[in-house]
Amino acid sequence: MSQSIRDSLDHCVKCTICETQCPVAAVTPLFPGPKYVGPQAERYRDASREGSPDDSLDYCSGCGTCTLVCPQGVKVAEINAQARAVMKAQKGVPFRDKLISRTVVGGRLSVATSPLYNWGIGVGALRWAAERTVGIHRRAPMPHAARTTFRTWVWRRNLTRRRVRSTHRVVYFHGCAANYYETELARRTVAVLEHQGIEVIIPRQECCGLPMQSNGLLDEARASVRRLAAQLAPYAREGLDIVSTSTSCSLMLKREAREILELEDDPDLRALAPRMFDICEYLVGLYEQGKLQTQMQPVPLTVPYHPPCQLRAHNIGTPAHRLFELIPELRVIDPNVTCCGVAGTYGLKAEKYDIAMAVGAPLFAQVDGSELACCDSETCRWQINSATGVETVHPIELLYRAYGLE
């Protein structure tokens, strides 16, 4: 276990604050809560022995709430993440978890077969079969695949050379979801950045390894994130900032890969981390320096905005709120809910689907009936959309409208 996580363990005073805030323990007796499976059980985990003293660990969704609320700075979620990965690796990772971990392979396949894939995820019988055979819940949110990838668009863009050139350059790390599923978000992010007069560089990029990490495929996760870091680090060393629309993937590069995958000393990751920004965090930074375009047209909507747990784990608060304040006539409701339940791939799994839905229920109740909802994280958007039927977009989409870029 990485040293910074290990050291934090001894600071636990058993105050129970994390127990009372864990959204999973609140809805199921199957999970005893962060303190038990984290700092407590960790003392009995022993690398030389097989297995975990507490299999219920598998029910931790990895939402990170426990780490956030702990007043003593114990990295509870990180302890859990690492122990869970080791447990899975020891027990053997089920085929289903391997499948949903391979976002690049899965993404390529679904884009290549997009009409068929998009039809398939809507067919009850096929979804039922998928639940029975691989254990992906029949009602779990599945994104629609794009017809062509974002990279194809980037390739064409480079050919036509129709792009902003400037001395203010940033790198866009789009991640897998924006490449295969939410390509429109990726294009609009580029448009919003270019609207600020910024030149956007979009290098080739691997998967950050997070889905593999959370499903126990540690070696694969390490290899993948190192390849990604090697692709992006040269820009960081040049002094360029890297922005991302994927909250969980950017957190991998900021912190998690080093902490959880024990890559503390990886020089590429170290160079990258201080230059990684969540897109809204970056835009707020520009605003504070007086460099953000604030000429905006009204967006007369009332939108519930859910800052996802993966964003909160950045420890940056909720920067989108600052941006929304700049948009005339936009009314934003804060549902004030910890987690939507899906927590990456957790809520897709047949045995966890009901738990994920129960966790998200208070959020869904507040989103229900809205014209539009907003959330920074892709899997959360799919979850909210599938649970409520309400179209759910990234904050960038609201800015895009406000700038009149449509």
């Binding site: 005073v13 105050c15 129970t16 604050i17 127990e19 009372t20 805030q21 323990a25 609140a26 007796p29 809560g33 780490t67 956030l68 609320v69 702990c70 007043p71 003593q72 700075g73 900021k254 912190r255 981390a273 201080p274 990684m276 504070e288 909160r312 784990a313 950045h314 420890n315 940056i316 608060g317 909720t318 709120h321 804060d334 004030n336």
Partner: protein, 428 residues
């Protein structure tokens, strides 16, 4: 002043109260905090002064005598008026929960060990158990909750009440088996409280208790009577049992504290304030006599957060507001503010773990506007304020004064901040 940036460090009772009070005056403070504060662990009562060291009945009189003996106590700067003002802010913020008490007299509340504990204010559910002459209490123990020893409470309470000067307080007890998770030997109080939001489980609990409600003035339950539906749960139980019902606080996690904590944070968000969790303040940037920014350690990097004024409400030892290094050195964690009361290298441990330790009263010294002071008595920075347990000179656990200090200092800090900020804006 809506464009001004006010940062409150710490999300305990002091930080949250300061923030909602600032929010009530048109500012939109950002609370940055490493984690939640002590409220979810506290009994949910508002202690102003419980022991001086003798039990305090009339608070103003008790306070005057106490301050004569303890001139360096934070109340000497805060004053009871400020504490009353802080209580009003709290009352407004947690409105669905009624806070009982007039601040003139302490009430005595039964504890789950049968103690008679003085406190100035309490949520209505707890205050309903206030002891008085001739009170007949039925303690309900829940087998699923390990920390509800009803028989012990019933045996001890008459003795404790008599020692506190009350006559003829009597108590009986029963143990009930109702549980949302019958297979679990030890159900967390928070799980129990959430489960009792469900009318079906509540009806089962009431049915188990009802036959025993004879010749009692109050039925005392562990403090688990509902979370989201707390008010309804209380009302249902009262009408179902045909008798007054109260909650009795026990060890953490404390449901009454969690309810207040959640309501305060909701209120702050409703007022347009923000909470940034997970970020530790590790420095203040100064220009001359003013602080211009807070340095925040976010885990992956340290960033500078611009600030026009800062409230430090980081608590004491328990919350990391003050840190003790392995060489015995004491440091204020955010800005290395000067600390008073350091017993120095002679610092020793007592015979027993529960003995007083001189280090517990260590903290920053403040003026009447809650500005932290230098050892020579000058103000450390013009736009920095302290609130809560970080202020030295008190031993909250002994004196039962913690929440009163939090509320009073939060009220003063917020009001001084608003006044002084307005003055600087005018000057500019």
């Amino acid at each position: 002043m809506s464009g001004t940036r006010v940062v409150v460090i710490g999300a305990g009772l002091a930080g949250l109260t300061a923030a909602v009070r600032l929010g009530g005056q048109g500012l939109r403070p950002t609370v940055v905090t490493r984690g939640l504060g002590g409220l979810p662990l506290s009994p949910g009562t508002i202690d102003v002064l419980g022991y001086a060291p003798e039990a305090v009945d009339l608070i103003e009189t008790g306070m005057a005598a106490f301050l004569e003996r303890n001139p360096a106590h934070p109340y000497a700067q805060i004053g009871l008026d400020a504490t009353a003002a802080g209580i009003e802010s709290l009352r407004e913020a947690v409105a669905p929960i009624e806070i009982i008490g007039d601040g003139a007299r302490n009430m005595l509340l039964p504890s789950m060990l049968g103690g008679a504990r003085p406190t100035a204010y309490a949520p209505a559910s707890l205050a309903a158990g206030a002891l008085r002459d001739g009170l007949r209490v039925l303690f309900v123990g829940m087998q699923a909750l390990r920390d509800s020893p009803a028989a012990l409470a019933a045996a001890t309470l008459p003795v404790a009440a008599a020692a506190a000067g009350l006559r003829d307080v009597t108590a009986r007890s029963i143990d009930v088996t109702t549980s949302p998770r019958p297979d679990e030997p030890d159900v967390n109080p928070v799980t129990m409280a959430r489960a009792l939001d469900d009318p079906a489980l509540l009806t089962r609990l009431a049915a188990e208790v009802r036959p025993h409600v004879l010749d009692v003035d109050v039925v005392a339950f562990p403090a688990v009577l509902g979370m989201q539906r707390h008010a309804e749960v209380l009302a249902d139980l009262r009408s179902n049992l045909g008798a007054p019902v109260c909650e009795v606080a026990s060890v953490p996690p404390s449901v009454p504290g969690i309810r207040l904590d959640a309501l305060l944070r909701d209120r702050l968000v409703a007022l347009g304030g923000r909470v940034t969790l997970g970020a530790a303040a590790v420095g203040l940037e100064r220009r001359g006599t003013r602080v211009t920014a807070v340095d925040l350690d976010r885990g992956d990097r340290v960033v500078s957060m611009p600030a026009d004024a800062v409230v430090i409400a980081t608590g004491g030892f328990a919350s990391g507001g003050i840190v003790l290094d392995s060489h015995g050195g004491l440091t204020e964690a955010v800005a290395d503010l000067p600390l008073a009361g350091d017993p120095g290298p002679e610092r020793r441990f007592g015979e027993r773990a529960s003995d007083d330790h001189p280090g517990l009263a260590v903290g920053v010294t403040v003026d009447a506007g809650m500005h932290p002071l230098n050892p020579d008595g000058s103000v450390w920075a013009d736009n920095v304020y302290a609130a809560g347990d970080i202020i030295g000179g008190a031993v909250p656990w002994r004196q039962l004064c913690g929440e009163g200090i939090c509320l009073g200092s939060a009220a003063v800090a917020a009001d001084t901040l608003v006044r002084e900020l307005a003055a600087t804006v005018r000057e500019v």
